[in-house]
Homo-oligomer: 420 residues x 2
């Protein structure tokens, strides 16, 4: 960023370069994009020392981070292998650009095709984990989009090292070098400046804590793909297999409690509460999960704290769960509609009617029957990879992979047809 | 609207009622929605006298409208038949709700379906033509959405009469009566109040002039489906069949010059300019079309006015066309990328390479080869009906029909699967 430019001018220049790169990228064939992905994967490993050295600088400066966040920031040779493997996996996915979504010949002979095209320019904002730099660049470029990356300040040196390698390989593969850019300053105002540029940037994707996302939504002039919260529920119905219910509850809560598709609220049918609440309470306690329950929960599980409304609405991202005994499936659905975040909700039941009622009425990005909430994920649902999860209803909902980073256009071939 | 409420309270109440209605509507089976459409079609004809009387009131008040706009406002028994037929056609279309867009069984046995669901609540703003009241309500309700209608003030009595009939039939068919609401005041501030309610309204669709659309985009807190302008191009390539080119140009420009997919700019390859410019110039003059051309155009067609940059960028919506001679397909594409509005652009050519270049590089909602721009239309492209045309890239692009008024959710059935 040149010193004699104002911040707003430099940000506009970044976006103009991205727009120009996206024009070039839109019609590039798959083989060149895949070659870039594979050569970048190789280069990340060949040049791993430079990345690890940059990461060490970040780690040394990150003295005030929590242990969990230090771990997220940390890069190891093994993690670099995972990052490279991620790029190779994206290379293996089908090209989403040029995919014919629908097509028909009209009665008058017009040949109509609805063809996937890139969105254009994506502004991707993320926190902490430096491997997201490579993941996001890979998904954006494979889908024909130019991307402007803005990582967390803790990971700045790591991100820059990774970005440089990706950028070098763009040049080597004959792709527009500005297809991937990293905002070269930590000035927070740069984010606001970029979010103003709706004529140059087609989509903003913030991935991180709720405050980052709220800021982006408040300031963005272009569409934003996002989810605010993942207050995910598991409802254990009267007709549930209780062994299965226990397995699903524990997996949903404990397998990775810090992620957005982890369970935060557990609803239990009153008819099985006397049996299931003490049982699941004991299993959760074994795994050091704190239970905050309703009055009925506490009558079966006296060790539970009393849940407040805020607890029922919370995304704890931690080993805490809110628990409530409900009188029937309808009450469970009402509770989810009131407190849920439209992210991921599951029912455990052997009763088909209850399952159908639940899947029809719960208005969330993913609704599961007899499966862990942790399955709401791009890999698990078959998208191959994801750049994030959306709880919006417009454009894309649920995990967003390569296809969700495209738009489409109608391409129509005729033989001189005109309208009557 | 009760007199003792503030405008903002009344608007919120409308939106709350719409939200509640949308909850009920989301799981209604197709037969009940279709019955409502067919009964409404019948009732529009049975009660046509009331509608025509209301329309007469509007017509009597509309003394300061242009002849064209008076014609748009005017309802006749024949036009009411057309309106009823429109509802019957929507009834005959497939139900977009519950449609499985994709589905698979994952390696671990999870059955994944991506199922179409309604968006929720749609705020639809439109100008003048009262038949749009019935069309928009039909498309929204058929796609399971509640709709808040806000028509033009000129058509207020006509719209209210039509709305009352639709509303009565909702009640008779056991559908939520608030599934269709008409903003019951002409206070312009009501629009601003409703556009604030992003928690209750999922999508705003403005259909009308550019100033209405710009106002909605500026004030809306929810997503907006829209196009600003239709500056549509026809490019007549060197390899064009000139008879076909003439037919397409005249149809694109003259068949209905006031609509968004009419041609506004004509580009002609230099190699055929000496032959084609005088010929098309004469044909356009016969149809009283005013030509504003570049210097080269004028060397072949001295009667043409000199085109300004503003002319090349304009959507005339009238019998005016801007014309430019270009040196090759690349220059034509560059011109369209610079001046176009991303709506509809066509090439006339017999050269496959030129057609492929044009369709790949022109980044518009619809790109046509050897066909009139007038085909960018929901009926013509096979969507059955349309609520509008989008030039946005997110969510929906081009004509928006029933499917574009839906979102989706992932419904996943398992047998107790958890993640490793």
């Amino acid at each position: 960023m040149k010193m004699n430019q104002s911040l707003s001018e430099s940000c506009r220049e970044i976006a103009v370069r991205a727009r120009r790169a996206s024009d070039g990228l839109a019609t590039v064939h798959r083989d060149r994009k895949d070659r870039w992905l594979l050569q970048s994967a190789a280069a990340l490993l060949t040049l791993s020392e430079a990345i690890l050295a940059a990461n060490t600088r970040d780690m040394e400066a990150a003295t005030d981070l929590s242990a969990a966040n230090r771990d997220r920031l940390w890069l190891t040779p093994e993690r670099l292998h995972g990052m490279a493997e991620g790029l190779r996996q994206v290379a293996a996915l089908p090209d989403p650009v040029g995919f014919v979504r629908e097509g028909s010949v009209r009665p008058n002979g017009l040949e109509v095709r609805k063809v996937s095209v890139p969105l254009g320019v994506i502004f991707f904002l993320y926190e902490s984990r430096p491997n997201v730099t490579a993941d996001a660049a890979a998904l954006c470029v494979k889908s024909g989009n130019a991307v402007i990356l803005r990582g967390g300040k803790e990971a700045f040196h790591s991100n820059t090292a990774i970005y440089r390698i990706l950028s070098e390989q763009l040049a080597k593969c004959g792709l527009p070098i500005d297809a991937v850019q990293l905002v070269p300053t930590l000035d927070r105002d740069a984010v606001g400046e970029l979010l103003k540029l709706k004529d140059l940037i087609d989509l903003a994707i913030p991935r991180g804590g709720e405050s980052l996302i709220r800021r982006v939504v408040a300031e963005a002039t272009m569409p934003v793909l996002k989810h605010y919260l993942g207050n995910c529920h598991v409802y254990v119905d009267r007709a549930a297999d209780l062994d299965m219910a226990e397995r699903i509850v524990l997996n949903s809560k404990c397998q990775r409690p810090g992620v957005c598709n982890a369970m935060e609220s557990l609803l239990i049918h009153a008819d099985i509460a006397a049996k299931f609440v003490p049982r699941i309470g004991a299993s959760l306690r074994e795994r050091t999960v704190e239970v905050r329950g309703c009055e009925i929960t506490r009558s079966y599980l006296p060790s539970a704290l009393l849940a407040t409304e805020a607890d029922h609405a919370a995304e704890f991202c931690d080993l805490i769960v809110s628990m409530k005994v409900v009188s029937d499936t309808e009450s469970a659905v009402d509770h989810i509609r009131r407190f849920g975040s439209g992210h991921t909700d599951a029912i455990v039941t052997g009763d088909l009617k209850a399952a159908q009622y639940f899947t029809a009425r719960v208005d969330s990005a993913a609704v599961l029957v007899n499966a862990s909430t942790r399955f709401n994920d791009g890999f698990e649902l078959g998208l191959g990879a994801e750049i994030g999860i959306s709880t919006d209803k417009l454009h894309a909902r649920g995990p967003c992979g390569l296809n969700e980073l495209t738009s489409y256009k109608y391409v129509v071939y005729g033989e001189g047809q005109v309208r009557d």
